[in-house]
């Protein structure tokens, strides 16, 4: 019985949370319809004015809810984070798996995993006090000068708070996740395969490139997707460095943005002052959208990781 309670708790909690979010989101879905996905404007309306009735639900006068700015901000910052984190993680994992051993490997692996344990508010604080001024005065102008080739690199750079800064702090947070998973995958590649490669006269890099990578490909894609899910759901650090733009899509790499998670954290207090409660419902719909995105990403990631493992089992060679 006790085991039954313990075993079912994750299911119950997940079901409970999903149910509450869905129920809370329904009035907003009725109020906004598809407009919610396409509109740029998020306006809780004049909460000190009257009420308006539309589609059988009530909202503050002038209210209009559109999440496109937040969807774009969330996806763009997470993609930038992956662009930076994937090469770093991959190379770190190769070094950890094949180039180190014993105490050195343990220490380095632990350090990478410790990076995952840093509270995001600490990374956010660093981003706010060190990273954004540096982007504003050094990195931004530098990239901006090279921007004649790539359009989104062109200035103005502004305060440094925005897409690039958010991508950087997110990259720091997803590197340990991708690195740890990839290192474990690389360690599962049978030694026999690698010895075969060396026997054929391949260099170390060629062994990794032509033998190890094909073996772990699905699993690695899964690891990247796990990192993507983590980046999309991150709240505090992004809140501190993103510039929290509303009603405006990013113009270039340095533009202020908002992500869904950060916006929910920011706006809940004001939403509570809305007598029609529609502002809270709209935030719930945004939460529902974020949940669907992250759950779908995580699910896809898990499927890919497990299918990668399955393929190795099928080849009949056990992990060392």
């Amino acid at each position: 019985m006790a085991a039954g309670i313990a075993a079912s708790s994750p299911v119950v909690f997940l079901a409970g949370i999903v149910t509450i979010v869905v129920i809370q989101a329904i009035p907003s879905i009725r109020f906004s319809g598809w407009h919610f996905l396409t509109s740029l404007t998020w306006n809780i309306g004049n909460v000190y004015g009257g009420l308006e009735h539309e589609h059988g639900v009530t909202a503050a006068s002038g209210a209009s809810f559109g999440s496109r700015v937040f969807i774009v901000g969330t996806v763009a910052s997470s993609v930038i984070a992956l662009l930076m984190a994937v090469p770093v993680s991959l190379l770190t994992a190769v070094i950890l798996a094949y180039r180190t051993r014993g105490v050195v490997r343990t220490i380095l692996s632990t350090l990478v995993e410790l990076l995952a344990g840093i509270p995001s508010v600490v990374i956010g604080l660093w981003g706010m006090t060190v990273l954004t001024p540096w982007i504003s005065t050094q990195l931004g102008p530098l990239l901006s000068r090279a921007g004649g080739v790539i359009p989104y690199l062109r200035g103005p750079v502004g305060t440094g708070m925005g897409l690039l800064a958010s991508g950087c702090v997110l990259a720091i947070m997803v590197v340990p996740i991708i690195t740890a998973t990839t290192r474990d995958l690389l360690l599962q590649v049978p030694t026999l395969y690698r010895e075969g490669g060396v026997g054929l006269g391949m260099t170390d890099w060629e062994v990794v490139r032509h033998i190890c990578f094909p073996c772990i490909r699905e699993g690695f894609i899964g690891a990247v997707a796990l990192g993507f899910g983590r980046a999309m759901g991150e709240t505090m650090a992004v809140l501190m460095v993103s510039g929290n733009a509303v009603n405006l899509l990013p113009q270039n790499l340095y533009s202020p943005i908002s992500t869904m998670a950060a916006f929910i954290a920011d706006q809940l207090d004001s939403a509570l002052t809305d007598a029609s409660k529609m502002a809270v419902h709209a935030l719930s719909e945004l939460a529902l959208l974020l949940m669907i995105l992250t759950v779908a990403t995580n699910l896809a990631a898990r499927l890919l990781v497990s299918s990668g493992r399955w393929r190795q089992r099928r080849t009949g060679v056990d992990a060392p």
């Binding site: 019985m1 006790a2 085991a3 039954g4 309670i5 313990a6 075993a7 079912s8 708790s9 299911v11 119950v12 409970g16 404007t41 998020w42 306006n43 809780i44 004049n46 909460v47 000190y48 004015g49 009257g50 009420l51 503050a60 002038g62 706010m128 006090t129 954004t132 001024p133 504003s136 103005p156 502004g158 305060t159 440094g160 708070m161 925005g162 809140l239 501190m240 510039g243 929290n244 733009a245 509303v246 009603n247 405006l248 113009q251 533009s255 202020p256 908002s258 954290a265 920011d266 706006q267 809940l268 207090d269 004001s270 939403a271 509570l272 002052t273 007598a275 029609s276």
Partner: protein
């Protein structure tokens, strides 16, 4: 067979957890204090059982009022009435209002008064002013000495993207003789819901008609899209952003003034109703507070842009949001605490107000607050 047993166990477990969660919910709702205070609350209950005296009052809401409660009033009230245990937390004005309405806290602290719609939905809620606060407009302009002068109209144009550089003719016109650099303006707003946003946007609405008809005012508003604009979290975030960005301008609560000036920020003299440019000095804030007229009985009123030669234009009441229907010992304790809080010899004394840069209620407002406190009871 085995598998079906396992499923039954799991289902039974799930039902058990659901019942447990539901039970917890019911207990929390019935309890008058927040989850964080539950441990202390137990202790209080214990004392109550043995001594029969201690009452716990909980407060949550405005981050501006929090230092007044936690650093000043709670230690002081401990010696005034040891039988009352006060618990304060800083969550935000909107949370303060909604939790006071829901009955999960006894005092909701808010920089903004409740909207008409909210009051008509919850007729028993009182908005009781406890003190006077103010707000200043701050900027990062290295090399510019003294205080620049700004009007509400100029600020509204900056926050609508119509004025983009510091040497704009509209800014130069109100700062004769001052050399301003050709530097892009970065307007900074609050990203979180905030009483500071409420005050600032009220000042803009009062002084600029297109702002009044457009974004209007509230604890968070629909800011016009300005590409260079950034939003920061909390007064701390605004001060950090201003300090890190040359040419930035933003609005900051008065209790952060010393901190921000130490970081090299300047603050503006704002134009008041009489046309004078005034600084947020205690004397000017007091002048504005004393100039208020026609305060309604429920005291839900804007104090922006009061008349008078020296009146500073952005001041406000800090409110305690309280349900007038209270029972027994708790109601009495709440009443006595609030009476003490607004008393010029009690909580409104300068010893408690000055450290947090608040000013006491004007003598003509105090009786109105007292009359509202009198309504608390069964």
């Amino acid at each position: 067979m085995k598998r079906s047993m396992r499923w039954i166990c799991t289902a039974a477990g799930a039902t058990g957890i659901l019942a447990l969660v539901a039970g917890c919910g019911a207990t929390t709702a019935g309890h008058t204090s927040g989850a964080g205070a539950s441990g202390i609350d137990h202790a209080a209950d214990h004392t109550a059982a043995s001594g029969g005296q201690t009452v716990t009052l909980t407060e949550t809401g405005s981050s501006l009022l929090y230092p007044l409660f936690t650093d000043q009033w709670i230690p002081a009230y401990q010696s005034v009435n040891p039988g009352v245990h006060l618990e304060a937390s800083s969550t935000g004005s909107g949370t303060g209002i909604s939790q006071a309405v829901a009955g999960t806290v006894d005092i909701g602290a808010s920089d903004a008064y409740m909207a008409d719609q909210q009051v008509s939905q919850n007729p028993g809620m009182l908005n009781i002013p406890l003190a006077i606060s103010a707000q200043q407009v701050m900027y990062n302009l290295p090399g510019v000495r003294g205080h620049i002068q700004l009007t509400g109209d100029v600020l509204a144009n900056i926050y609508q993207g119509k004025i983009q550089y510091w040497d704009d003719p509209a800014i130069a016109a109100v700062n004769p003789g001052l050399h301003l650099p050709h530097l892009a303006i970065t307007p900074v707003t609050r990203s979180d819901g905030s009483g500071d946003t409420f005050l600032f946007t009220q000042y803009l609405s009062d002084t600029n008609s297109s702002w009044k008809d457009g974004p209007g005012y509230g604890t968070s508003v629909n800011w016009p899209p300005v590409p260079s604009e950034v939003a920061a979290n909390g007064n701390q975030g605004v001060v950090t952003t201003l300090a890190g960005t040359k040419g930035a301008i933003g609005y900051v609560g008065i209790s952060w003034l010393d901190n921000a000036v130490a970081k090299g920020l300047g603050y503006a003299a704002l134009q008041n109703k009489a046309g004078n440019f005034v600084l947020p000095t205690p004397a000017n804030i007091q002048a504005a507070a004393d100039a208020t007229t026609g305060i309604p009985k429920d005291e839900r009123v804007s104090l922006i842009d009061e008349p008078g030669q020296h009146s500073y234009p952005i001041i406000n009441f800090e409110y305690a949001i309280v349900n007038q229907h209270q029972s027994g010992a708790k109601g009495t304790a709440l009443k006595h605490f609030l009476e003490w809080a607004i008393d010029p010899q009690g909580g409104n004394a300068a010893t408690y107000m000055t450290p947090v840069h608040f000013l006491p209620l004007p003598s003509k407002v105090e009786p109105l607050s007292r009359a509202q406190i009198e309504q608390i009871g069964g």
